[in-house]
């Protein structure tokens, strides 16, 4: 399985550590940031294959951040994360080209599978 670059954007430390930890354990390069601004800086500096983006965050929310990231790096697959069932924001993100929307709490097996699928797509 190919190694890919993953960015995890979530204001909750426990999510950052657990999600990031699991994905790193799977062998990927994982970077974690706390908010949208940091995410944008990160994407400016490096290319990420997948970004896990929490929607509800202080400052700019996940959908706005996604919008900015798309401008910087359109190739990145952005996975929206939400504790909410359906939201206007989520719909907007999907319309704008987000890869998928996951509901917390995740079924990690599925998440890992998703990452592998994206990696295959990118031929890595």
């Amino acid at each position: 399985m190919g190694k890919i670059n993953i960015l995890v954007v979530d204001d909750l430390r426990s999510i950052r550590l657990t999600l990031g930890g699991i994905l790193e354990d799977e062998g990927h390069n994982v970077v974690v940031v706390e908010d949208g601004y940091q995410a944008i800086e990160a994407v400016k500096k490096a290319h990420f294959d997948v970004v896990f983006m929490d929607i509800k965050m202080p400052g700019i929310n996940g959908v706005e951040t996604f919008g900015e990231i798309k401008k910087i790096d359109p190739e990145t697959a952005v996975v929206m994360m939400t504790g909410y069932s359906v939201e206007d924001l989520v719909r907007k993100a999907i319309n704008d080209g987000a890869y998928v929307c996951l509901h917390k709490p995740f079924d990690m097996e599925k998440v890992i599978g998703l990452v592998e699928a994206i990696a295959k797509e990118k031929n890595k």
């Binding site: 909750l12 426990s14 999510i15 550590l17 657990t18 999600l19 930890g21 699991i22 354990d25 509800k56 504790g83 909410y84 069932s85 509901h103 917390k104 709490p105 995740f106 990690m108």
Partner: protein, 557 residues
């Protein structure tokens, strides 16, 4: 007697026979005159200058009832023919007679033998016979005739003085007498009317002739007749006519009494008019009274109606008040629910993050423990990690329920057969074997427009409750039939039943009799059914079982 005149005037042939013949003739003459006097119907008597009665004839005797012997030779005053009180007066009268002062007949009151008073007309004549003065008196008993005269005068005066106009006519209707009132009424002088025909006194000659013929036939006529005055003006007269009959009953004259009733008639008419007016006013009054009475009745019934209305209104108000209170309670409830919903939503969403982190961590730890061999050495570690994972899922489910309550989505309806939904629900549940499941679904039930997922969820919820109510086993009956505009689905069990104090609250959110879990199930079911336009009800008897009835609207034709 033939030679009476001759006897007095002729000269005698011989002295003796002549003398005898003259004596005889004188005697004859004497007898003649004596008889004349005796036979006269009037009383004749003579008195001397002193007042002694010298002679009287039979008539006098007859008149007074005395005999000749009783009165002849007696003084007048002692005759008994004069009332005692009249004697002095009559003596005076005699003196006047003798002195030649009385020339007219005198009326004297004389007495009969039986004491009855008679009125007599007496003519006195002074005679000088043989040097003596003799008074010759002729007496006529006029008592009756004087009486009659008086009566006649009375009647005559009465008629003349009557206010009623009275006239007499002959049998041909020619006026023979009118009283002053009659003359005045017609505007004539009394004498002018005499000889006029009554017919000339009326402008209606036909009526007049009818009048007279009726009068002749029946003897009387009474009526009104237009009459003409002397000045040609007419007036209305009320006439009473009658026939005057003699003693034999033959009609000898006609009498009419008349009254000018013009004024009376005018008054009568005025009265009649006034009466009519009064009648009219009375009618009006009566009508007004009627109206008043009707108005009164209306008022009364209006009052009754008003009272009824007030009563109704009061009742309505009371009912409205109750409704209002209910609505208020409902509003408070739904506000509470809305608040809870919002809170729930917020809390639920927030909880998902920590749950997510926990689940991720458990996943990682489990993986590592399983690979490390610790899992085999300490199986409880794996078990407990599983427990943690399960409880995270359970917590998530609770959040889902909570969020599900606060946001029951609009049902995504599509035509469905209830039998399929029921069977679907049953197939997803593990129903214990000690429960007998009976399906009583009517044949030919129409399709209904429902969100099959949601309805299935509802049925599953209720069936699970039913199963939980029969831990020792029992019977579960699911029925479906058409009920008016709804499809009725029934789920009944033979379980422990629901108590009265609980049954009213089982559809309330957050109400639960279970020790664990939050009671959102039935509240969500109710919300779903009501979103479909239906309703859900429960009946229960403690110890016997419960029966839920779900009504879903049939497709509108």
């Amino acid at each position: 007697m033939s030679n009476k005149g001759k006897a007095l005037g002729s000269a005698p042939s011989s002295d003796v026979s002549e003398g005898r013949r003259m004596e005889e003739q004188t005697r004859e003459v004497e007898e003649f005159y004596r008889n004349m006097v005796e036979l006269s119907p009037d009383g004749i008597f003579t008195i001397d200058a002193r007042g002694v009665l010298l002679s009287c004839n039979t008539a006098v005797v007859k008149m007074f009832g005395f005999s000749k012997e009783e009165v002849v030779g007696k003084h007048l005053s002692k005759l008994g023919t004069i009332r005692l009180k009249d004697v002095p007066r009559y003596i005076k009268l005699l003196i006047s007679v003798i002195s030649g002062k009385v020339t007219e007949p005198v009326e004297l009151t004389l007495q009969r033998k039986d004491g009855a008073l008679r009125l007599a007309d007496v003519h006195f004549n002074l005679l000088k016979i043989g040097g003596k003065t003799i008074v010759l008196a002729t007496l006529r008993d006029v008592t009756e005739s004087r009486q009659m005269e008086q009566e006649l005068r009375l009647f005559s005066n009465a008629v003349a003085g009557a206010i009623d106009a009275i006239a007499l006519t002959d049998m041909k209707g020619i006026i023979t007498y009118v009283n002053p009132a009659m003359a005045e009424a017609y505007g004539y002088k009394e004498g002018e009317m005499l000889g006029k025909s009554v017919i000339s006194l009326t402008p209606n000659p036909e009526t007049a002739s009818q009048m007279t013929s009726a009068l002749i036939k029946t003897g009387s006529w009474h009526g009104e007749l237009e009459s003409t005055r002397r000045n040609k003006k007419t007036f209305l007269a009320q006439l009473s006519l009658s026939t005057v009959r003699d003693e034999k009953g033959n009609p000898m004259a006609m009498m009419g009494a008349m009254r000018d009733i013009t004024e009376r008639k005018r008054m009568e008419q005025k009265l009649r008019d006034k009466n009519e007016q009064l009648e009219a006013m009375n009618e009006e009054l009566r009508a007004a009274n009627e109206e008043l009475r009707a108005a009164e009745e209306e008022l009364l019934s209006a009052k009754e109606e008003l009272e009824d209305r007030v009563r109704e209104r009061t009742a309505d108000l009371a009912a409205a008040n109750e409704e209002l209170q209910e609505t208020q309670e409902q509003l408070v409830r739904s506000e509470k629910l809305a608040a809870i919903g919002q809170l729930a939503g917020g809390v639920g969403h927030e909880l998902r993050n920590p749950l997510g982190a926990i689940k991720n961590a458990v996943y990682y730890i489990r993986g590592k423990v399983a690979n490390s061999g610790l899992g085999q050495k300490e199986p409880r570690v794996m078990e407990f990690l599983d427990i943690v994972d399960d409880e995270v899922s359970s917590s998530n489910k609770i959040i889902n329920d909570l969020l599900g309550f606060s946001r029951v989505g609009n049902p995504a309806v599509s035509p469905a057969r209830i039998k399929k939904v029921i069977d679907d629900a049953l197939s997803r549940l593990a129903i214990p074997e000690n429960i007998e499941v009976v399906e009583k679904l009517d044949a030919g039930l129409p399709e209904i427009n429902v969100d099959t997922d949601q309805i299935r969820q509802v049925l599953m919820n209720i069936i699970v409750n039913a199963v939980q109510a029969m831990p020792e086993g029992g019977g579960l009956t699911i029925s479906a039939r058409e009920g008016g505009k709804f499809l009725e689905v029934g789920v009944s069990d033979t379980g422990c039943g629901i108590t009265e104090e609980v049954i009213g609250k089982i559809f309330d959110p957050l109400f639960t009799t279970r020790a664990k879990g939050i009671g959102l199930g039935l509240a969500v079911c109710k919300a779903i059914i009501e979103r479909h336009g239906g309703n859900i009800e429960v009946e229960s008897e403690v110890g016997k079982g419960s029966s839920f009835t779900i009504r879903l609207p049939l497709k509108a034709e």
